[in-house]
Symmetry: D2
Subunit: 134 residues, 4 copies
């Protein structure tokens, strides 16, 4: 089952068009990713998971005060990277607001040097559980 | 009793010093203000309450993953403006993170023209309840 | 020739990894788009050009103080949408930092109602000039 | 003479009221502070200058496309802290947009431990020059 979190849209997320700025959608997605890790007790991995690729389509707006449901689930676990898919649903209007995917790589910063490493098993397993049926 | 809300500190709130950027504290405060209005059914007033004055002292940092408690309470209800006080407590460290006050004015945008107006009674009353003992 | 603009990376653009947050790259791209319109005297069109699709790959970091060169050029002018490509070069390190594309649609908000319209000729022509050789 | 820098106001700086969000003013001020240090060859000090106190009054709005002039000048050089004053002028409307002051402390992070230190002479001298007449 996808990881699922709900967030309000706040004033600071909006722009002069009166709706959430296109980068605010991305902050919601990263926030959900962090909450997913926190729930799994592995928040520390997020700091060593630089974003590598992002694709998103915007399908309907989010207004201040709207409730955004963010869903995340594993798309592909590679050796040194994970690709997850996301969807944002505007619960207030009942419409899909956005969907897409994000790829991050797994790095180590031990010894002060950054290098790509195999993604930690714990992290991979947490993502795999987003695909199980219960 | 002050209005009180809890928020996680997220990665997007931090800067290269590894802690929440000084403007992230202010977004937390505004977020609490919006949640306070929402709880009182008067969120719409926030859009016609431009910020006029702000004072804040920063006393200890907020790290990613820390829980920030934001407290808001009325300081002074003037005819066309409200000054409220705030405090941010880092629940994770047990330390005060920041405190200060914010003044906003009450405006009307009816007829497409902005002008200062008396603050709506409903709004003033909500703020007054932050001073009651229960 | 692509539109080309240079921007410093600031402290507020960074996160706890000590480098520009992945959403900061997108603000740089939008900033370049606005500066491109301003230079062409058509900045007003940006307010009626909602983002529809975005793809970006991140290839190397931007640090605070680095100079980012942002290049934009037309990829495809559809009737009611424009897709442009972008590249961010880190002038300080000499490396490519990111590249991708962005699709926006053209809308009208006349009469208070939003609807898709043909992209204004002036806007399309400005984008077409990013493909000319001089 | 105060340090003086000019910046455009961008779409990402605005909120649903159609004007720059109150935290955008603060990012402009910090941006000017960084440009001031860069011009003096001392940008590295900004990373060890945590914000301690901030006061700002907002007097007129900044719209997207407006030119904001930010002025900074020394108010008081204490042993371990500096207080500078700032003013933002909306060049497009000719009106003052905001003014106030900011206090930062000087710290050292040598040996991985943060502690308050005397502000570097170079930094203090740069600020003192904002008070000279030429």
């Amino acid at each position: 089952m996808p990881f699922r979190a709900k967030y309000y849209v706040y004033w600071a997320d909006t722009d002069a068009a009166g709706i959430a700025h296109f980068t605010s959608f991305l902050r919601l997605i990263e926030r959900a990713e962090e909450d997913f890790y926190r729930e799994n007790g592995i928040l520390h991995y997020h700091a060593i998971a630089p974003r590598r690729e992002l694709f998103i389509t915007y399908t309907s707006p989010l207004k201040r005060g709207d409730v955004a449901i963010v869903e995340l689930w594993l798309d592909e676990a590679r050796t040194r990277a994970i690709r997850y898919r996301f969807r944002i649903i505007n619960e207030t209007t009942g419409k899909n607001a956005a969907e897409g995917y994000l790829v991050f790589t797994c790095i180590s910063n031990e010894g002060g040097e950054l290098r790509a490493v195999s993604c930690p098993e714990e992290l991979v397993n947490a993502w795999k559980r987003t695909l199980s049926v219960s």
